[in-house]
Subunit: 220 residues, 2 copies
DNA sequence: TTAGTTATTTTGATTAGTCAAAATAAACGT
DNA sequence: ACGTTTATTTTGACTAATCAAAATAACTAA
């Protein structure tokens, strides 16, 4: 069995490679895992020995098919657990990522299946993050963000790509939850500011950095 | 934070001391934790340094107030998780102990409280094991067993004190679940056999060893 | 092309948890 | 009371995961 450390390494590689093709740098992985780069190099070599990754020295690392399989299973657990915590236990959506970070390593595949059924086989977690299917299929659709979308077009918020409690609280406080309707009324590259408007409510000003973390879809 | 290894050591000390007063031997602890005795000695000395236990060299070990507090919290998590797995996820009661062994270290106190509320503040787990209260109170009532009870008296089964899947499956298959009514019709010390009868159904023969794991209460 | 900057790897050390096997202490039986 | 059995402790070694700091390779800008 993979230790929870190994599971975290593999999961973060998956998240950093946007689907699994590109090489992930040691630095990026060290940053994501909050360890020093030397630790990552050592661990990656061990993961290469166990067949979970392919290591290109001084270039980066990528998951093998087996490594990807393990990573997808952990990610599925993480996101289904978040659904459970929010939908069943009614926990704050800003707090569940931290909880799921532990639980993803503690629940069995049997519990995973039953949670999935209990929740009605959800396709996304409370933040709009897609849940890998039991067969290992992960939706990789590319969305526009409030920083890149067309101005004045009616949009639906589909996903928030920042799990930090502060950002999620900000998003919730301003009613920008996944599913909500919104449109961008103004975007100024010079000042780096974006103005968004919900159907009802006063206009909201965001930095481009913040706007880029809110994924949207044209309302069909 | 206590590691899951430390939590397991403390929890098993609590279980082996029947409430917390008696000294627990290194050997018993090693057996329960499936490690060699030398490992326990080393670990117990570390736990003494951290103030979780009091170590009497060559005699045994006992929990301090702080160690007991931690142990009760872990035990509460274990048993509430078992309730959740059986009552909500409808898992097999013979399988949940293994699951809970991992989950007891992964859920936060926040999740614990919400699970407790969701389940309606149960007092016992699916095996009849008492759940420590939030305040750390653990029911220590002493019950008779099918090996010690009065013959022919109507009884109610209250608890099964063996978490092994094989024994639990046997118990379930023979309808000896907690809450069921039963009486002992015969007990023969020489042969070591006990005959039990449910209100409806054919008589069931058990060894004294097996009968001793089924706790009962006179039907009031 | 050469010096400087940055990322990665290597080396040596540390901590938690474990085992095997030897040493020691206590208990037991005659 | 003395040798034997049993439980416990000690010692030395190992694995997984980590960091600090030095070494190295690769890129970058003049
Ligand atoms: Mn994790
Ligand atoms: Mn999420
Ligand atoms: Mn456990
Ligand atoms: Mn139980």
């Amino acid at each position: 069995m993979a230790t929870s450390t190994v599971e975290n390494y593999l999961k973060h590689m998956l998240l950093l490679s946007e689907g699994g093709e590109e090489l992930v740098s040691m630095g990026a992985l060290a940053e994501a895992l909050a360890v020093v780069p030397g630790t990552v190099t050592t661990m990656v070599k061990a993961l290469a020995d166990s067949g979970h990754v392919e290591h290109r020295p001084r270039q980066g690392v990528r998951l093998t098919a087996e490594g990807r399989r393990v990573a997808l299973n952990v990610l599925r657990k993480h996101r289904l657990v978040e659904c459970f915590l929010v939908n069943v236990l009614k926990m704050d959506w800003a707090a569940v990522d931290t909880e799921a970070e532990q639980l993803e390593h503690a629940i069995s595949d049997e519990v995973l299946d039953r949670l999935d059924a209990l929740l009605g086989h959800p396709e996304t977690d409370p933040h709009g993050d897609p849940i890998p299917s039991r067969q290992g299929k992960l939706d990789s659709q590319v969305y526009a963000t409030l920083a890149t979308c067309v101005v004045e077009k009616p949009l639906r918020i589909v996903r928030i790509t920042d799990q930090s409690a502060e950002f999620l609280q900000f998003v919730e406080h301003n009613g920008l939850l996944p599913g909500e309707s919104v449109r961008v009324t103004e975007r100024n590259l010079a000042s780096g500011l974006v103005t968004a408007k919900k159907t009802a409510g006063r206009p909201l000003v965001l930095s481009l950095a913040a706007a880029g973390k809110i994924l949207v879809q044209p309302t069909r």
